[in-house]
Symmetry: C2
Subunit: 288 residues, 2 copies
């Protein structure tokens, strides 16, 4: 069920880590890589993240069982257009994009058959971008969300699921719409909150920050251009989550201003309990 | 300059950790402990966090060079009242409270001489409360803010500073007012934001959270009753920081809703740069 030959398009943190992890766990699989950035191709070859490189996306996907789009999502449309004439009918295309609805729209527009595109989102990353930070254990025990479309055959979905499982990930199936709502809550809005908090904090106050502040704001050190794109891509859901959060902060403000001690304790303890439960329970594997 | 005999009042995470750390780094110092909770006293004795226990706060402080208040701040007024008649004139009292202005007011009211109280705030802790989580390395390389009052003699301030330095902390001096403003930004408001985010996130969305969300929300698992007290104690500053944050989120909302790509990138990159600088630069030791 696992692929004999894969093509990684885009050789940054995620593309490089996919390559290193495939080389570690799927030792019979041939890994072809393409990047617009020649230095990244060199690094990927030297690090053993890919076996071969190709100078064009179309040449890179020839004879691949599985193609994985690992560039920023803004590069997907052009990339899909250029690989479309070179794909075998049996080749499955997937991706690592943080949002799914726009990506699916692009695949539907440009690929010969929309059934070939099985979207996925491995929930792994780092505030450090670039292939220099790629790791063969980046995906270990992390969750990969697969968001099949009605066009996908069961067999194609299973092929993509087996692939991520072979990379030691847990897989979860969600609809693209629900996926985009959930990541607004657990990833995109938290990024904006951490950035806002860093931006309003006095320079001298930063001097007395403890470990709590460092952990709370770590995600804010991610690349601004990349995150602008993610937030723009998921704008509707991020705005909706932001409005919910603003309303919740309004409730907090009232409790604090009015000195409603009991309500405040309940509110803080509710959050504490939910957060402690997260530490106890691993995410459900293969939840559907 | 370091004390020969200290008394720890309150034997939870911080009191227990002070004891363990003193036993490790100040091996000639005698450590006396008091707690309202008998089981915590037993644990502290067994763990070697204290040499002796006393059954009353007054008896505990007899002949101490330094007394450290390590209970929640709500217990400080009663504690200060009960130790006041038993303090030697040369004994210095300090504390580990997260806010300083109210604590100073209580010490001024109850101690025979307000000059004896030198307030401090070791910026170390954990979302796990209680002496069971006490550690001899909790304070290592962390910052301790000392907030002297006009009543304090230079010698008394130096005594408290030497003590925390002997526990391997960096020390910073701030006025009590500035301290309380800064901790609203780097500790109290972030706690409320993390709690709000956890509270509005769908159960099923929590299932697909990655490491970023876990780090962002870790502080929210702290005890609700303890944090309610801290937030109430620093209400004015927390409300002011919250209003700044709300305004900043309003700016973020406008950029996102209007698709102002360049402004958004700048905003995100400004935060990313500030956060990366924090990772690079250690806090200034002994900044004044």
């Amino acid at each position: 069920m696992t692929p004999n030959r894969i093509t990684i398009l885009g050789l940054g943190l995620l593309g490089g880590s996919v390559g290193l992890t495939v080389r570690k766990h799927l030792t019979d699989c041939t890994v072809v890589g393409y990047s617009i950035n020649g230095a990244d191709v060199e690094t990927a070859l030297r690090a053993g993240a890919i076996h071969f490189s190709a100078s064009q996306p179309g040449a890179a996907v020839a004879n691949a069982d599985l193609v994985i789009l690992c560039t920023p999502v803004s590069a997907f449309p052009a990339l899909l257009q250029s690989i479309a004439p070179h794909l075998e009918p049996t080749t499955i295309v997937t991706d690592v994009g943080s949002t799914k609805q726009n990506v699916i729209a692009a695949a539907t527009q440009y690929l010969p058959s929309p059934s070939q595109f099985v979207p996925s989102h491995p929930m792994a990353g780092s505030e450090n971008q670039g292939i220099a930070h790629a790791r063969a254990d980046l995906f270990d025990n992390a969750t990969c969300v697969i968001t099949p479309t009605p066009a996908n055959a069961q067999e194609s979905i299973q092929k993509v699921e087996s692939f991520w499982k072979a990379l030691h990930m847990r897989t979860v199936h969600l609809s693209p719409e629900i996926h985009d709502q959930y990541v607004a809550q657990v990833s995109h809005l938290p990024h904006a909150l951490a950035a806002a908090m860093v931006n309003i904090t006095d320079d001298q106050a930063l001097d007395v920050r403890g470990k709590g502040f460092l952990d709370f704001t770590r995600i804010a050190s991610g690349d601004g251009a990349l995150w602008e794109e993610i937030l723009r891509d998921n704008r509707g859901n991020v705005l909706e989550s932001l409005d919910q959060l603003t309303a919740e902060l309004g409730r907090f403000r009232t409790m604090l201003a009015e000195g409603d001690t009991d309500a405040m304790k309940d509110w803080l303890n509710h959050a504490a309990q939910r957060r402690r439960d997260l530490a106890k329970h691993k995410p459900t594997p293969s939840a559907r």
